[in-house]
């Protein structure tokens, strides 16, 4: 068995989500090679080579891969991956974008968002917004898989000394191009990696009111998330959405503020270790999953919380 693992990065730093994928790869077993595709991504390749237990790092450093858009990435990974038994990436928006393309090019199905490895061909994944857990066995010659970060602990990012080799395969795309981006600038920790997450819902009323959550977050070193309703209403940007169709988080502490607890929201946070809900409606479904529920007006409770921590 041999695994090709696609690194998640922004050309400058290796995204820690990659380390969770390495753990999944180790559970599958076999040699693990990491592909770093980007432009000017040498530092990322070096970081990948230091991950414990990696055989080889393959670097595709070319302008075709600067933004890791799906068409060149899908082509590159299909060509390189054809010789492996498994191709793995994180279930991030980048992985979700190109991995199905790779699978179709290899004429195989894909297994999305696995949360556990049973064996080299059998995987566990949540379906129906996490209301059912499926165990799926694949008979495809190459298993193309995205990995849910919360299902696996991160592998050690230090201690390895893999060889680094360059590939000169260039898959330029004439039909698609990067036009621009609007990235959310935040000094707070990444939602997916934070130990504590505090999220606001429609009950926050408007975007300015999120300030009271930011204050708590900054005291706790927490990330701030949101429900779909809060994003749809324009209170906060889309990258803050937690849920079935947003980000999946499982921090040590999740604090839901003014969030009712729809199944689609629960799908993104119910594996958190400790859940706190602050809601003025004592019937809100969020209380059914909360370890500690506080029935209160959030505009009183949140500032009080901030003053007490």
């Amino acid at each position: 068995m041999s695994i090709l693992l696609i690194a998640e990065h922004d050309n400058a730093t290796l995204n820690v989500a990659t380390l969770n994928v390495v753990t999944a790869a180790k559970e599958i077993g076999g040699d693990i090679d990491i592909l770093v595709a980007g432009e000017g991504c040498g530092a990322v390749a070096e970081a990948a080579a230091k991950i414990e237990g990696i055989n080889k790092v393959i670097v595709a450093d070319n302008a075709a891969y600067t933004y890791q858009i799906a068409e060149p990435m899908g082509d590159l990974v299909a060509e390189l991956g054809a010789d492996y038994s498994h191709i793995l990436s994180a279930a991030t928006t980048t992985g979700k974008d190109f991995m199905p393309r790779t699978a179709a090019l290899l004429d195989v199905n894909m297994i999305s968002d696995i949360s556990a490895v049973e064996s080299a061909d059998t995987f566990v994944r949540p379906i129906y917004a996490g209301n059912a857990i499926a165990t799926v066995q694949s008979s495809d010659a190459i298993k193309v898989i995205t990995v849910r970060g919360t299902g696996f602990d991160p592998a050690a990012g230090e201690g390895g000394s893999a060889t680094v080799e360059a590939t000169d395969i260039v898959k330029a795309s004439a039909i698609s191009a990067f036009v621009g981006e609007e990235l959310a600038a935040s000094d707070r920790p990444d939602l997916a990696a934070a130990e504590i997450v505090i999220s606001g819902g429609r009950g926050m009323g408007n975007g300015d009111n999120f300030e009271i959550l930011y204050k708590v977050a900054d005291k706790l070193g927490a990330a701030v998330g949101a429900s779909r309703a809060a994003v749809d209403a324009g209170f906060v940007p889309n990258d803050m959405q937690v849920g079935q169709t947003g980000k999946i988080v499982a921090p040590s502490l999740y604090i839901a503020v003014g969030i009712s607890g729809a199944i689609q929201h629960l799908a993104g946070m119910k594996d958190s270790k400790v859940i706190v809900a602050i809601n003025k409606d004592e019937e809100a479904p969020i209380f059914q999953v909360a370890d500690y529920g506080l029935v209160a007006d959030l505009f009183d409770a949140v500032p009080e919380l901030e003053s007490m921590i």
Partner: protein
């Protein structure tokens, strides 16, 4: 230009699914079914393109059992012009769905194919991208804005770090995210009118596609249940519990 929209019949998003006692699958008996919410957004986007004069014809395709006609009729009531049902009672994996859609794309030659980003039953998030690879067309996934300009389309995508725009040459594939639009409701007169719009039924064999399965559902289990917690009286007690009991502060 012609727009092709793929719609899937799935469990209604308000229904909390149950696992069968024998753990063979989820229980969909007597469960309310509906159009996948992301597919509703796809139909709405196509209808808006037609209202803007960008699209001239909207063809809707669904793959599934005969009852999936209901979701095609709903799409027709929302403003699509014509429907295609690829009828099969077999369980489908994404690669087969993508191959069937590819056959439709080859026949219909649309300039834009719009799909949902994700089925809310399988939570796969695969089909649009696979269709892109099989047809050789570019993709704009998780779209929150679609701007057609001549023979190009700019798609703004919801990504983990914010928003990113890609420029694609037409024909192209778009998969919808939640913020692309807010779907309308079908009016009664439009529901009546939809009954007279053409709906063709074909089989996978008609399209020359063999239904293949490479994935076996070994078992389906309910998720780990969280044990019910407690209600705290006030913020002071909450902080105390988080410090001394849960030890997370």
């Amino acid at each position: 230009m012609k727009v092709l929209v793929a719609v899937k019949r799935v469990i209604d998003y308000n229904v909390k699914v149950r696992v069968k006692p024998d753990n063979s699958d989820v229980d969909l008996n007597n469960v309310k079914m509906a159009m996948n919410p992301f597919c509703e957004i796809a139909v709405e986007e196509a209808v808006r393109l037609k209202e803007k004069g960008v699209a001239t014809e909207i063809v809707v395709v669904s793959i599934g059992p005969k009852v999936a006609q209901e979701q095609i009729r709903t799409s027709l009531a929302l403003g699509a012009d014509r429907g295609i049902l690829i009828e099969t009672d077999e369980k489908l994996e994404s690669l087969t769905v993508a191959k069937l859609l590819k056959a439709v794309v080859e026949k219909e030659q649309p300039q834009l194919v719009v799909l949902g980003k994700q089925s809310i039953d399988s939570d796969n998030n695969q089909t649009g991208q696979m269709l892109g690879a099989l047809t050789g067309l570019p993709q704009g996934t998780f779209a929150s804005e679609v701007a057609v300009d001549g023979d190009k389309v700019n798609v703004t995508r919801e990504v983990d770090a914010g928003l990113r725009t890609v420029g694609l040459s037409l024909p192209a594939i778009v998969t919808t995210d939640l913020r692309l639009n807010e779907p309308r409701y079908a009016s009664l007169p439009n529901i009546m009118k939809a009954k007279r719009k053409p709906l063709e039924t074909v089989t996978p064999a008609d399209l020359g596609v063999e239904i293949k399965s490479t994935q076996t559902l070994v078992k389906v289990t309910p998720p780990a249940q969280r044990s019910a917690g407690i209600k705290v009286a006030d913020v002071a007690q909450l902080v105390e519990k988080l410090k001394t009991e849960a030890k997370v502060l």
